[in-house]
Symmetry: C2
Subunit: 254 residues, 2 copies
Amino acid sequence: MLVEDVHFRMREATAFQIGWKAMARNISDIAAMGGVPRYALISMGARPDLEVPFLDRIFNGINSAAEIGEINIVGGDTVIAGKLTIDVSLIGEVEKERLVLRSGARKGDLIFVTGALGGSMKGKHLSFVPRLKEARWLVSRFKINSMIDISDGLSLDLWRILDASGTGARIYEDLIPVSKEARSFAGALRDGEDFELLFTITANEAKRFFKSPVIGTGTPITCIGEITARSEGYNLIRANGKAEKLKPEGYLHF
Amino acid sequence: MLVEDVHFRMREATAFQIGWKAMARNISDIAAMGGVPRYALISMGARPDLEVPFLDRIFNGINSAAEIGEINIVGGDTVIAGKLTIDVSLIGEVEKERLVLRSGARKGDLIFVTGALGGSMKGKHLSFVPRLKEARWLVSRFKINSMIDISDGLSLDLWRILDASGTGARIYEDLIPVSKEARSFAGALRDGEDFELLFTITANEAKRFFKSPVIGTGTPITCIGEITARSEGYNLIRANGKAEKLKPEGYLHF
């Protein structure tokens, strides 16, 4: 659910971008489970002062993003609201053997991310292409133990995998890919809305990645650390070699 | 999508009722197509000042209504919003031969409604039981040509059937069941949120109804008129026998 002045500001986003983002973030969520998106329901709460062409452009954005997958928009609702509100419900399908959950990380797994992290709010969050191709490429070729899309920052979303899997992790400052738009390393660690894939696989399975650090779709992937026993905690190894405890900090809605 | 101060006011509805209504109106929609509800996604935009127990009671209402059908809540989203906003997306299933659309009304069909109409805003709209049992009873025993649930008033929702089917209709003032809560006949005709079933079947099929005016579930059904050729228009026959043109008036969101 995207709400005006919470997830976007009207003066900072075009109608097309708002619609695109509403659909794309849902596709990202299904991609991160290894699935393909299929059916969407769109509910819109529209301010009475918005013009119909503006709402049409929102739907253009929604429809364009829907073409990333083969998504049928099968229903929805349109109501009056005080703030522009768009809720996309997306149903996907996944082959049982390709389904990936947050809870499958195991001690010894290596941790990977696609793309580069941080600074999404400078623009990427409105126009990103969800990593559907990449996720399908991964789950059809490798045994992915756990996966999530980074929507609330690496630090918090990796913690979600650790929490669900009952493990710890160690990630390395000098391995984490920082985007050009990130203010700093802290941004790469904690900024929200990257919509990159974060996943873990056994070291053995990972050997094949190391041979081709750019995955089949052209998107770079980077190994940023490893899964450890829960008792070892959640650690960031700084560039100087010092370990630092990580807390699950990032973009929290509450 | 239910929005605070548009679809409900906090001081006039309990948290449980808000949740109940959000789910029940969706069940009503699927029932009116002959289907059974199966999977739900719940998105909630919550004001930051609302307490967690209040939100829990909303979910109690949603879950209780979900028990009317065998509905699995499979996902959703929770975000901050300026007004409490609840969007329920509901996926249903229907046997191909039982699917009923708005577009199937044919000249000569008789028009029926369940229950009594009008005055729902006095309370029924917060606690109604969607006509799922009744709809399934109907579609499994009779050939229902067209059906809709009355959410925006008889006058407007019957017009939707006529518009989709390319027909006219004649309904009779003295046949339309007026609820005790309706202010007047006009209320039965135009008040929204009745969530009763409105359906049409051939006169031949209807004979079986006339033998048992209370349908198998105990809910009264009433014949209120008949489908005519489009060229005859949309007419209300007053108790004094005079015909009056009907306009598609009711509760419109815009």
